[in-house]
Symmetry: C2
Subunit: 222 residues, 2 copies
């Protein structure tokens, strides 16, 4: 209202910056350990600030989540790139196992996929990047003759969803059980195992609407 003639918005105060960082660090830890539904007080406590300060920096849980996931997406994209350096089928298998491993040791990450995320440009971009690589991983393995021809990038979502549920169910009793489930699924993905499937693949629209990544494209009522 008064002196807003400065070229850009004025820099944050030093202590405020520090608090923001402490909050982000705490968020990464707490979400990873306990999932995205943890009480926000827990994050404030861990960061050593009051709940009021938390709300000052991050007005809603979604803002914390928005600070949480980019690193996770980036790691996933790196994994995809590494997978593309392997032989086609091995890369495909390794990538899926890697996805699952990450879910298995990160409750926040596995919660991400069952939650509507805000529709930010960064997220759209991360999705596009991820999709691009995933498609290549799949296409390579199909050209190679090892992956069944009717497998689509959207079908990968099934692998993730189903593995997450196994991971969550068996975490306390047999933390490796998902590997067995994945093995069955992979055997069903081989070209040599393929029998025609009547139900068509989801299209990308449907996957987006369903859960991970973007909400209903352009926000809904929030």
């Amino acid at each position: 209202m008064s002196t807003d003639a400065t070229p850009k918005a004025r820099a944050k105060r030093r202590d405020a910056q520090r608090n923001r960082e402490k909050l982000i660090d705490a968020t990464m830890d707490v979400f990873t350990e306990r999932g995205l539904d943890v009480p926000l007080e827990e994050i404030a406590r861990r960061a050593g600030v009051s709940i009021g300060t938390l709300y000052n920096h991050f007005p809603s849980r979604d803002d914390l989540i928005a600070a949480f996931y980019p690193a996770k997406f980036a790691a996933q994209i790196e994994d995809a790139d590494r997978a593309l350096e392997c032989a086609p089928w091995e890369g495909f298998v390794w990538y899926l196992a890697r996805l699952c491993e990450r879910q298995a040791c990160d409750r926040g990450l596995s919660d991400l996929l069952s939650r509507r995320l805000p529709d930010t440009p960064e997220l759209r971009q991360a999705c596009a990047q991820s999709y691009e690589r995933t498609s290549r991983i799949i296409a390579r393995a199909q050209q190679d003759g090892s992956l069944r021809a009717d497998f689509t990038p959207q079908d990968l979502t099934f692998v993730i969803w189903s593995s997450i549920s196994i991971i969550k169910a068996t975490a306390a009793v047999a933390p490796d059980a998902w590997r067995r489930h994945l093995a069955f699924l992979l055997d069903g993905c081989r070209a040599t195992a393929a029998h025609p499937i009547a139900t068509p693949s989801l299209d990308m629209e449907q996957v987006l609407k369903t859960m991970p990544t973007l909400g209903t494209a352009t926000a809904q009522h929030e």
Copy 2:
């Protein structure tokens, strides 16, 4: 304290019996439609009684659940019996699809598998019956040479868990999507698709501990 010399406990009052039945009916409907975590007031409202009466008849949510699931288990056992009348592989496939179909149209049923149930004799018996049939369905298909030899009854849990997560994720967008997932999984279950799996099957103990049916065998702290 006074006149408890009657051979058996006195019969319930007529109106109390009626209320109990209304509550059970409401429970079946509400759990089926909205899952096991619905507010109990909703059930009382639907039954046309007060919340106090609900608590009078069913002191805890678990007691309502205990009234809910036997019919569901019975249906499942019937399905298994029908499956045993088909050809081995067809029976196996039909049974799995049937299980999933039931989950798909019954939120209460799908919640059951991700919740610790009370350890009652009836439940133990239902589990034993179910296990006995399931084992036969599997054994038949293996002897037949169609189902891979390393598939165990415990692996069936994976099929259910994973399908439930697909069902929940896609219910709003593509209510049939689970069929595609199941098809991949089934292709991976064929004897001809089998590749050796390093991770061993869960044993029955572990499955019980994990989730469905019984809690930690002989109750824990409740």
